[in-house]
């Protein structure tokens, strides 16, 4: 009898079970559940849980609470985890990448600063808003190919907008020049613009495990939506929305990660020890059969070979090269922006109409009130889902 049959159920009891967020399930989870998870799941999922809590608080316009939660998440994103025990555990052969304390992929970290910056804009703190948008861009610096590094257009646009609101013409112009390096068609901000409307469409990119032992992941565009454009109307007057960012594109253009090499090494270890283990147990079993025929003189040798084979199989079964598929499920698919002057568009709200290409999308229209920030300028945000 192969030792693996005896060992498998025992190993199932001893191997640690690591809970991971299921893609597609999380949007249905309410704020209270995420807050409960924050208390239960500790540092390993602190940033992920804070991100999920933050977007829900933001959507409910509980900006002060959202600000505190985002600041906590950002402090952990910014912190250096060189000696973090969870990070060391995740690098070990015996633990999956998901053992590490979650910080998010670069696009997720950028979006934490995106929302924090919007909260500063809503409050009228344009300098800190600018700092948030600027700092967020630095999280996008790790793309494998240089043209995909620091190419988060919406962050550059909002940095320029914050400078515009703060009356910093020089900084606004510098940032718009940087934006036009990736968006050559982007026009200057209208000099009298004092209103910003942000519309998000769709649902977050999905991170799915793939390959042997799910040692790497692939991104797929979010599910359950068709809309990818926004049209606005203020009374009878059209409001033009520019599609400023594709979050799925940002997720997929990051390229390879350093940890991918570690995970491939774990895969190789798992496969090699598994192969050796199977071979040795086969030899051991065969040796046992030969031993019986030879009158028992080879018994201890056969047993030793089987034992070594069993050890190798144990090592292989415990090696865990699974990539981390945790992701921020409440991000949008795309971000669209519109800026205009309240002297021209004087209505208290703008109607958002979501389109899938040229056709109407499935998401209902939204009549979005325009709010006034702490300095008398105007801001509004809405999401199609």
């Amino acid at each position: 009898m192969r030792p693996t049959v005896l060992l498998a159920p025992v190993l199932a009891l001893t191997m640690p079970q690591i809970a991971t967020a299921q893609p597609g399930m999380a949007p249905q989870i309410a704020l209270a559940e995420w807050q409960a998870r924050l208390g239960k799941e500790g540092d390993r999922n602190l940033v992920l849980n804070q991100m999920e809590i933050d977007t829900r608080l933001f959507a409910e316009k509980r900006f002060q609470e959202a600000a505190a939660a985002f600041d906590d998440a950002i402090a952990h994103i910014e912190s250096v985890y060189a000696d973090d025990p969870n990070a060391k555990k995740a690098l070990s052969v015996w633990s999956s990448e998901g053992a590490k304390s979650f910080k998010g992929e670069p696009y997720e970290r950028v979006m934490a600063y995106f929302y924090r910056g919007l909260i500063y804009l809503q409050k009228g703190d344009y300098e800190n808003a600018r700092a948030a948008f600027r700092q967020g861009q630095l999280q996008d610096a790790f793309a494998q190919e240089s043209q995909n590094q620091c190419d988060f257009a919406v962050m550059l646009f909002l940095e320029a907008w914050a400078s515009h609101q703060n009356g910093d013409k020089r900084l606004e112009e510098e940032t718009m020049r940087r934006l036009r390096q990736i968006r050559p068609e982007q026009a200057d901000l209208p000099a009298d613009a004092d209103t910003l409307v942000i519309a998000e469409t769709g649902t977050a990119p999905r991170k799915l495990g793939d390959g042997a032992s799910h040692a790497y992941f692939v991104f797929r565009r979010g599910k359950g939506f068709t809309e990818d454009r926004v049209e606005g109307r203020e009374g009878e007057r059209p409001v033009t929305f520019t599609p400023m960012e594709d979050i799925f594109h940002q997720a997929t253009t990051r390229g390879g990660r350093e940890i991918d090499r570690v995970l491939q090494g774990k895969v190789a270890f798992k496969q090699n020890t598994g192969g050796v283990g199977m071979a040795l147990t086969d030899v051991g079993v065969a040796g046992g059969q030969i031993n019986a025929l030879a009158g028992g003189s080879l018994g201890s040798v056969a047993a030793g070979v089987s034992a070594v084979g069993a050890v190798a199989l144990l090592l292989s079964m415990n090696a865990n090269p699974t990539a981390d598929t945790r992701s921020w499920s409440s991000l949008p698919d795309r971000v669209h922006v519109a800026v205009f002057s309240s002297k021209i568009y004087q209505a208290p709200s703008v109607t958002l109409h979501f389109l899938a290409g040229e056709a109407p999308g499935a998401a209902p229209d939204i009549d979005l009130p325009i709010e006034t920030d702490g300095k008398g300028r105007h801001f509004a945000w809405a999401r199609s889902r």
Partner: protein
């Protein structure tokens, strides 16, 4: 195969695996006091509390040496707040942490040789003055003045940063420069300047690159 030889070995192996701790339940330490001027446990390349303490102390000590402030016949009036202290950096920061600390410590150290105008509280002062003018409250114990105090000097400044990242190694660095200046509010000239600058480098765990 010798079953007795195999079973103890398996038992030892399984026991050693079972002894490997499962993911430790995170135990948050209880809240403890930490010195504001000591490095914290959450560290990156940004401005920490010890930087704020160090820079505000340095600026305060330097302001005590400015002749226009310390040797004037009449105590000059100074505004020290964050209204004209501009953040042009990549760092989200509450500027008032710095300017409040400078003002409070300078006020205490100057022992009356300077007077500090609370311009950010001007609306509160005006509200009280309106009540006195309307006769709804009495004139207090210090009497009325024609107007609120005008200021002679104001602290102005700028925060700037320069960030760099090496995508290959994950090394991040930030150079931060805090510029402090004292502006003559009548002539417009700068009577005092100082800089607090630092650079920090860090490298995160490979698992986050």
């Amino acid at each position: 195969m010798s079953r007795p030889a195999f079973l103890p070995l398996s038992a030892v192996l399984m026991a050693s695996l079972a002894a490997s701790p499962a993911l430790a339940r995170d135990r948050r330490p209880p809240t403890v006091y930490a010195a504001p001027d000591s490095p914290g446990k959450v560290r990156g390349v940004g401005t920490d509390s010890q930087d704020i303490v160090a820079m505000s102390d340095q600026m305060m000590r330097d302001l005590l040496t400015v002749p226009q402030l310390m040797n004037a016949t009449t105590a000059p009036r100074v505004i020290i707040d964050d209204a004209a202290f501009r953040n042009e950096s990549s760092e989200m920061i509450d500027k008032a942490l710095i300017t409040d600390r400078i003002r409070v410590n300078l006020n205490r150290a100057s022992a009356g040789r300077m007077r500090f105008v609370g311009r950010e509280y001007a609306d509160v002062v005006q509200q009280e003055r309106d009540l006195k003018s309307a006769g709804k409250v009495d004139v207090g114990t210090t009497g009325r003045t024609r107007a609120m105090a005008g200021a002679d000097y104001r602290l102005v400044g700028r925060i700037g940063t320069r960030d760099a990242i090496d995508p290959r190694t994950g090394v991040r660095s930030r150079y931060s420069m805090y510029t402090f200046e004292l502006l003559d509010l009548e002539y417009g000239d700068i009577v005092w300047s100082n800089i607090y600058e630092f650079k920090k480098e860090t490298q995160d765990n490979v698992i986050y690159r």
